[in-house]
């Protein structure tokens, strides 16, 4: 049985914070296919195009027929745990701080036998489901989890290393003026975050939902304007040492393209919020979070950015907005690499058009703020690096994977 997690004690300022060591990071190029699937929350293994053999670990040629045509595909994730061992000591800097660590051998229904991490509630021998998770170094590892899942199982220490669960963590939601930020704050509070700091820009301007936002348990309203470097720096000075998760919900949405844009003023505002806002957050909070990536139950865990799926291809009706999203996406890729040494995950939650006032003339399907909030909590609880919310986001992602040029032409009709 998973031991239920208790609220972590207050930090002892005299103790050295555990440095954020990473598990072994080297992977072959072939193995990064596993990582890519895990980043999106899928379990996929290589399947041989020629003979259908499922291969593990990832390789360049089929072990049975020597064909080089191996493709990662979703496969049956069920299996039988046939053996286990508990590692009690290790020379590896990461694992020696985290023993005992349970590993086991799983005979997969789809063929291969896999040495995997074992969730504490998996019985041996017994049935399990295999999942691929990103470890602290951003690489896929395979974990056998119980077939039947309960919320309490998320407290398992091995599982928690592989996720960024908000439970008992202190979260900053960057923009509480809009429904998306408000929904995210409510969902994180419900998911067990011990504090939900909610940033409010220009507090002298009233906004819809203000009273309800303030009534959410554990919410603390903080002044935060992502377009103002001093505002971001001041907030980091106040809470930067105890911010475990940042969810950036700020998004400056305006219609208009490049030629038809009335001026550079709106375009600049979009970049100030969507791109430089993210950079200001990263500059003010990043270093502190990176240093606290292994700081116990409420270690720094993740930066989540909620951004439009037009980051992948431009939608000319919202052309400049799309451009800012693309820049934001690129910035996140950089940030992901920069935060990795600290074991802090950078997660992108791509959304379809949000149901809001700026996109009233965009035809449905649109995404409700509550859907985004759910996706943010899921991304954190499952450790998913890239998620797509709503039918449009999922469709754009699939078409982007198929051929970005086709997608560009279709969106630009």
């Amino acid at each position: 049985m998973t031991h239920p997690l208790g609220p972590p004690p207050k930090k002892d300022p005299q103790r050295v914070t555990r440095p954020p060591e990473l598990p072994p990071v080297q992977r072959s190029r072939a193995a990064l296919g596993l990582t890519a699937a895990a980043a999106r929350g899928f379990f996929a293994l290589q399947v041989c195009d020629e003979c259908g053999t499922v291969a593990y670990p990832p390789r360049d040629a089929c072990g049975k027929c020597l064909s080089p045509h191996l493709r990662f595909q979703p496969v049956a994730d069920g299996g039988e745990v046939i053996a286990e061992t508990v590692i009690r000591t290790s020379t590896d800097l990461y694992f020696r701080e985290r023993t005992p660590w349970r590993v086991g051998m799983v005979k997969m229904d789809c063929g291969p036998s896999i040495v995997a991490h074992l969730h504490g509630d998996v019985a041996v021998p017994g049935r399990c489901r295999m999942v691929a998770k990103l470890d602290k170094g951003g690489n896929a590892v395979l974990v056998a989890r119980p077939e039947r899942w309960s919320e309490a199982m998320a407290d398992d220490p091995e599982w928690r290393e592989l996720t960024a669960h908000p439970k008992f963590r202190r979260v900053l939601v960057t923009s509480g003026r809009e429904p998306v930020g408000q929904a995210v704050a409510a969902a994180l509070s419900k998911a067990g975050a011990s504090i939900v700091f909610v940033g409010i820009a220009e507090p002298w301007k009233p906004f819809a939902g203000e009273a309800q936002l303030k009534a959410i348990p554990n919410v603390q309203i903080m002044p935060l304007d992502l377009t103002d470097t001093s505002s971001v720096t001041e907030l980091a000075g106040e809470i930067g040492g105890k911010t475990d998760i940042i969810v950036n919900t700020a998004d400056h949405v305006r219609p208009g393209g490049v030629v038809g844009a009335d001026s550079l003023v709106t375009a600049r505002e979009a970049f100030e919020v969507n791109v430089f806002g993210l950079q200001r957050l990263a500059q003010a909070f990043g270093a502190g979070m990176r240093a606290r990536g292994a700081d116990g139950v409420n270690s720094a865990a993740a930066i989540v950015d909620v951004l439009p799926v037009q980051a992948l291809a431009n939608a000319p009706d919202f052309g400049f907005y799309s451009a800012s999203a693309a820049a934001r996406h690129s910035l996140l890729q950089c940030l992901r690499a920069e935060m990795r040494p600290g074991g802090v995950r950078v997660m992108s939650v791509f959304t379809g058009p949000v149901e809001d006032e700026w996109r009233q003339n965009v035809p449905p399907p649109k995404v409700a703020p509550a859907q985004i909030a759910k996706a943010v909590v899921t991304a954190l609880a499952e450790g998913i690096e890239e998620s797509f919310v709503g039918d449009i986001a999922k469709d754009v992602a699939a078409r982007f994977a198929a051929d970005p040029k086709v997608l560009e032409r279709e969106l630009g009709q």
Partner: protein, 274 residues
């Protein structure tokens, strides 16, 4: 100085300089500090927006510049304590010398008359200054001199830092300002140089619902006069006797600019004993 003979420019300046040095003349700052958290005018979001003051550090005795400290700043022409030129408004678009770079310098140092309506503004956030108010004021204080800056004291600057400064509600902002007939009177019958306020604009918060909309902007600028807003420290000025210095930045074709506004006033004791 000899009685009956106008003092020369040199004598005047010498006396002024001596007054500033000796303390007989005090300098009162009427300017808010330019900072990123200073609110700007709120317009419906489909219109272009006024950018608040922003500052980015370039270096501060560090690897970006070991021996020096400096910043890049950006803002709207209409951020913080600022000056409105005639070209700011459509009514003043065709006037000569309508932009900040072309304004004659002698307009920028002028006597100031302070109208204290702080009590009325405290009682009614939508207080409108009318011609009748001005006439009553003149009955008590004498006529407003031609060429003066008229400063409308509401003590609204004291609300800065709270939501009451902009006082935004669902039907827009609520703050005191002038009625159209008051502006007509000041501009046409008193030939003022400009009109200065403590609020975010020269017009009342609800000024868009007057006729003409935004009468202070429309009438002042349509007649080549200037506006000053987001002033502070008006409670430290005498009703008469202050000289106002308000020189905007020399921005090519600029519609306005943030600026340092200050006033020369007789020393406080001199005023209270008079």
């Amino acid at each position: 100085m000899t009685t009956g003979v106008a003092p020369s420019g040199a004598e005047l300046l010498q006396a002024l300089a001596a007054g500033i040095v000796s303390g007989g003349v005090e300098i009162v700052d009427l300017t808010h500090t330019l900072s990123p958290d200073f609110p700007v005018m709120v317009l419906p979001p489909e219109f272009g927006q006024c950018q608040p003051f922003r500052i980015e550090e370039v270096s501060r005795y560090d690897r970006r510049g070991p021996g020096w400290y400096w910043n890049n700043i950006s803002m709207s022409e209409h951020a913080g304590t600022h000056f409105d030129a005639p070209a700011h408004w459509i009514s003043g678009r065709n006037l000569p010398q309508g932009t900040v770079d072309a304004i004659p310098l002698e307009k920028l140092a002028r006597p100031a008359v302070v109208l204290d309506f702080s009590r009325e503004s405290a009682e009614d956030a939508d207080f409108l200054l009318t011609r009748a108010h001005l006439e009553a004021w003149e009955d008590a204080n004498g006529a407003i001199e031609e060429g003066a800056w008229v400063l409308f004291r509401t003590d609204w600057s004291k609300h800065l830092g709270s939501a009451r400064y902009l006082n935004l509600r669902e039907d827009g902002p609520h703050s005191p300002g002038p009625a159209p007939d008051a502006m007509e009177f000041l501009v046409k019958e008193r030939a003022i140089t400009g009109f200065g306020t403590e609020t975010i604009g020269t017009d009342a918060g609800q000024g868009s619902h007057l006729s003409p909309p935004y009468p202070a902007h429309f009438i002042l600028h349509g007649n080549g006069r200037y506006g000053l807003q987001c002033l502070t420290g008006l409670d430290r000025l005498p009703t008469r006797g202050a000289v106002l210095f308000a020189a905007p930045l020399k921005i090519r074709n600029g519609s306005g600019s943030p600026l340092r506004v200050f006033a020369l006033v007789p020393r406080h004791e001199e005023r209270t004993s008079a």
